[in-house]
Symmetry: C2
Subunit: 436 residues, 2 copies
């Protein structure tokens, strides 16, 4: 493995897919780095040097660099080529109906750069010409209309930071600890500043029938014609017809030029490449809300229409696939918490598998239905540890353990697994996905 590709943000976090390549070389290199650093908690990190000793002048100071705007739209450093979205090997049968996972282990703060936002397509990414694209609003409305993108872009807008999580996120963990890294356990999760027109503004513009209307149908312009039912109350609350993501137009794989965004609700409801919204008086029971995205319960019944993504959290560092090299060293435990019901109130961290809990620091501002970054100071004593996080949202709901969740939901579900995640730190420093 190329040495230059191992520094991915923090600690030592080569995803397992690449870890097997030349583990020896990588480990040796990383131990070398670690040898140069004493622990912050035990007297300060970094190597000392003698006052007056001349600092070496790096080659980069001896010449001109690349000209300004060499890339009119800039790109990450080639040294970060390892920080990418990944498909889970063997998870899906085709690449058009598949998933690209966000590398949560490499990310900081709460904003997911759009280049690393997770992607779930049902029939691949269509090329939608924004000059031809139309959004139709029809059904139980007084004035059915078709909007061009220019129409939409001229309307009153809002921008809000929200998380987006696929209902199937962490779905592989129902039975046992199935995948090695947080990219694959929790990487169908991203967060961005979204901009668009409130769906309520459009519904007022077409004059929806307030007496009869109860549900909407949203349809995408992709080959799957993906359709989902949305309750009218959610649509009128805070749903947004979105064109902007992190300041710029949506990326193609996230719905360019227009998508629905239903904050706090499983991702499939935020229909991409949005082409029509129909107002009706009952749910449609489409393919994606009957065959899929329903929850198989222990008694064999299937629960339909789980809208909200309940409160959930995960430690992103240290996490599976990383190696802690410095026994007795300081480590910042950090991760993400979120709730489809509103804001995160508190996150607790345990390093002993849930016997003792301490409260983590939350990064402000804490925003409703957005990722919240938490941080926790930890000095690893070199003995095996079980790292967990557990969040509580503004409604008082406490994130369940996998045991608690299985008691209600069984082990054969795919969707809506919001259980506490456990990362085991071995005496060797290796971190792996376990269930306790």
């Amino acid at each position: 493995m190329d040495k230059k590709k191992t520094l991915q943000g923090r600690l030592i976090n080569a995803p397992v897919v690449e870890r097997s390549a030349q583990p020896g070389a990588r480990r040796a290199f990383l131990r070398g780095l670690a040898g140069a650093s004493a622990a912050l908690a035990s007297g300060g990190a970094a190597a000392g040097f003698t006052p007056g000793e001349p600092l070496p002048v790096p080659d980069s100071m001896k010449r001109l660099g690349k000209p300004v705007a060499a890339q009119p739209y800039s790109q990450p450093s080639p040294h970060e080529a390892n920080v990418v979205r990944r498909q889970s090997p063997g998870l899906t049968r085709t690449n058009e109906s598949s998933i690209a996972f966000t590398p949560l282990q490499n990310l900081f703060g709460i904003i997911t750069p759009s280049g690393l936002h997770f992607e779930r397509d049902h029939a691949g990414v269509p090329d939608v010409d924004p000059h031809q694209h139309l959004l139709a609003l029809h059904g139980l409305v007084a004035r059915p209309k078709r909007y061009t993108m220019e129409d939409i872009l001229r309307m009153p807008s809002v921008s809000r930071v929200h998380f987006l999580e696929c209902g199937a996120n962490t779905g592989m963990e129902w039975g046992n600890a199935a995948v090695p890294t947080v990219q694959f356990t929790h990487g169908m999760l991203s967060c961005a500043e979204y901009t668009g027109v409130l769906l309520s503004t459009l519904l007022e513009d077409v004059g929806f029938d307030a007496k009869r209307a109860r549900y909407l149908l949203a349809e995408g312009a992709d080959g799957a014609a993906l359709t989902r039912t949305i309750p009218l109350a959610m649509a009128l609350d805070d749903a947004i017809v979105v064109y902007g993501q992190n300041g710029e137009m949506l990326r193609p794989e996230n719905g360019y030029p227009l998508r629905l965004f239903v904050p706090g609700v499983q991702g499939v409801s935020s229909v991409k490449w949005l082409r029509r919204i129909e107002v009706g008086d009952q749910p449609w029971h489409t393919r994606e809300e009957t065959l899929h995205y329903s929850d198989l319960l222990p008694d064999g019944k299937s629960r339909q229409f789980t809208w909200i993504q309940e409160a959930k959290s995960v430690i992103t560092s240290p996490s599976g696939g990383m190696t802690l090299l410095d026994k007795g060293g300081y480590y910042e435990i950090t991760g993400l918490a979120w709730s489809g019901r509103g804001s995160i109130k508190r996150v607790d961290v345990s390093v002993d598998g849930g016997r003792n809990w301490k409260t983590a620091t939350l990064q402000t501002p804490v925003l409703p239905k957005a990722l919240t970054r938490f941080r926790f100071d930890w000095v690893w004593d070199g003995s095996p540890a079980l790292l967990q996080s557990r969040c509580i949202d503004a409604t008082g709901y406490v994130q369940p353990s996998i045991k608690q969740l299985r008691e209600v939901r069984g082990t054969r579900s795919i969707y809506h697994n919001n259980a506490v995640q456990t990362w085991q730190v071995l005496a060797s420093g290796e971190v792996r996905n376990v269930q306790v």
Copy 2:
């Protein structure tokens, strides 16, 4: 001009550099689009259609799209190829000591995507190997140290949303209305979620001499060896040694792998490719704080060390280079406000050159030393208009008019122009940069 490149986010905002190419064709196209839309304020936008009339099925629904993660690190739509950073023609003599401006007219919300963050280099962009890079802390400290990137990445971190503005932003406007678009009047301005280690944490780690220390020197590892003096109080307040920007590692042109970030202070102080911080007892008076980044006053004296970027705002849409096509139509006036002293308290908008002011809506959360997005509903009556925004920050400071600013600062400065910007809307709908 290619039709597909005209839709850039909102309204009609082809930058002037491309506007002259085939203005006739572009205008005809845009008028065509506008003809299909009635004004929202006058009864609703968009074209109606008959209930029951079948919706045309776009080609994108008849086939599979591109596979998931076709790009492991995704890119903007090819339809958005016009939304890029740009150099102002003729502004600088070389491309290594130059500026790439952010296309503010195309952006939404407050987050600037890192691909469009402005860039100011003094000797081009160096290629810094993160595995070789060292940050030295020395001078009046008890324990001088050299930190590797691994050392820095393991330390306690913070993430904060802050604006960054070059001290020379809007510098071309001191004498008269010099450039045609908001990209070139105000585009040395961006905003991101930055992650790193508080500089105060590092200073504590090396044990700075609290009795003698008054200033720091920060130096970059580029060919310019860019150096700036930072007052110790600012360093201990909220300065951050940053490695993360919008969730991922810094882009090369913004200091990869490590930069200083001094919130609220002109950009040059946030030294990129940071290689050393020296603690001292007086300012260094380096090249970039004597020859440059000083303010020439009317009496011929030059004012050194203007740290803070004072409160400032600008309307980004409609703005210079756009054309309003729909007389009597609804337009959302929107823009950005920011202050190096803290939060924005209020933004007022005038459509008559400052005779009457009304208060705009601020997008929440309003964060200290961050961009704040404001929005204002406007129905254009088709007559000429003069659009202005004026902000007030939490200290009560009111953004000055260009007339007020010139009375104190004269007309020959380059730096620290925070005057109210005026966009003139002609009866033809064309918008241009003027001073009143």
